[in-house]
Symmetry: C2
Subunit: 215 residues, 2 copies
């Protein structure tokens, strides 16, 4: 069963984390940074194992052995992206939290170079990248549960709120407009979508029957 | 300016229309039917000009001259899809209309073979296919304006309702779950998303200030 509360946000450019660590960790950082740079400059179609190896300064034999193919590189970039301490914004209200979250999503989806958009596009090309993108989204939606939990504690929402549905409704319009329809970014959209979800929530749109529970 | 009301639904498998017509129209039908069949069987990666020509029985020189490349074939399939008389369902209520529309979308996005899903995926591969997919979505959202118009006439909605935003909110969760997150289809989702949009609309989420108007 999925967590009570969802949380979107697959959105910030995946920070390849610089851990204190040995040579293996350094090699990973060098390679993943090179993937991001190549992806930003050339997109999926221009991404090759050899270019990544050359840019990273890591021997191509190592790159092939450890990541196998471009899908493996992209999957590891996406997996590395959830290896951070990101938390959703805490603004003091449900609508405020959702609007701040949506603003982060819109910023990430419209950033230049379009790393996040390119990673989502790559998930239509590579099964490995797709599964890693799914894991990242699941991680982000799970972390966002706290937004709904806080609203419940403030008395803004019923404890029997389907948090995942609420978070999907709040964030889906951003992805729909920016990833699928690819309309020009609307500066009002993050706030509008947040307000819509908050109004629907107040009207009971995400209420679950108490017996269904969330556990 | 975009139309007042939006309308989703890019969703049914594009019917290549069988017009009474001359040889040119027949050739188009044969070729586009072959594109759909090849796409359904092999996906974008298996779609080639030569396979389409062979399957359609149309000479490959003609196929290359008229459609140029795979992107050209996909774009024409998508353009042909709006050459129909599709109208959104009329159930007598806003929520009912949105739920019926969402059910059509969910059915199309989960159909086997996955033609509609493959066309959306192709829009991340080919600029021509992407622009044609945009035109098709625009056509479908425009036709759905009538759903909001009818709700206004029934007194369910204010005449100052931003129909496009309402339709995006109602339909985006379907695309988000089925195209991006690719979760298992939830039979309740079409109705839930419709109800959420209708509740938000009743709470004034899509109200525009009268002065902003819609002309």
């Amino acid at each position: 069963m999925t967590p009570t509360d969802p949380g979107p946000e697959s959105t910030r450019p995946p920070p390849t984390r610089r851990r204190p660590g040995g040579r293996t960790a350094r090699v990973r950082t060098q390679v993943l940074d090179a993937v991001l740079a190549e992806l930003g400059e050339h997109g999926y179609d221009g991404l090759t194992m050899d270019a990544v190896a050359a840019r990273s300064g890591v021997h191509r034999t190592t790159v092939y052995r450890r990541w196998v193919d471009v899908g493996g590189l992209l999957a590891d970039v996406l997996d590395a992206a959830s290896d951070d301490d990101w938390q959703p914004p805490d603004t003091g209200s449900l609508e405020g939290d959702l609007a701040a979250l949506n603003l982060e999503i819109q910023t990430a989806l419209t950033a230049q170079p379009p790393i996040v958009a390119a990673l989502i596009a790559a998930s239509f090309r590579s099964e490995k990248a797709f599964h890693a993108q799914q894991r990242l989204w699941e991680d982000r939606y799970a972390r966002c549960e706290i937004v709904v939990g806080r609203a419940v504690r403030r008395g803004e929402l019923s404890p029997h709120t389907d948090a995942r549905r609420l978070l999907i409704v709040a964030t889906a319009p951003l992805y729909h407009q920016l990833v699928l329809l690819r309309t020009s970014p609307d500066p009002h959209l993050p706030g509008h979508a947040a307000r819509t979800a908050a109004l629907a929530a107040a009207a009971g749109a995400f209420a679950e029957s108490p017996s269904a529970g969330h556990t």
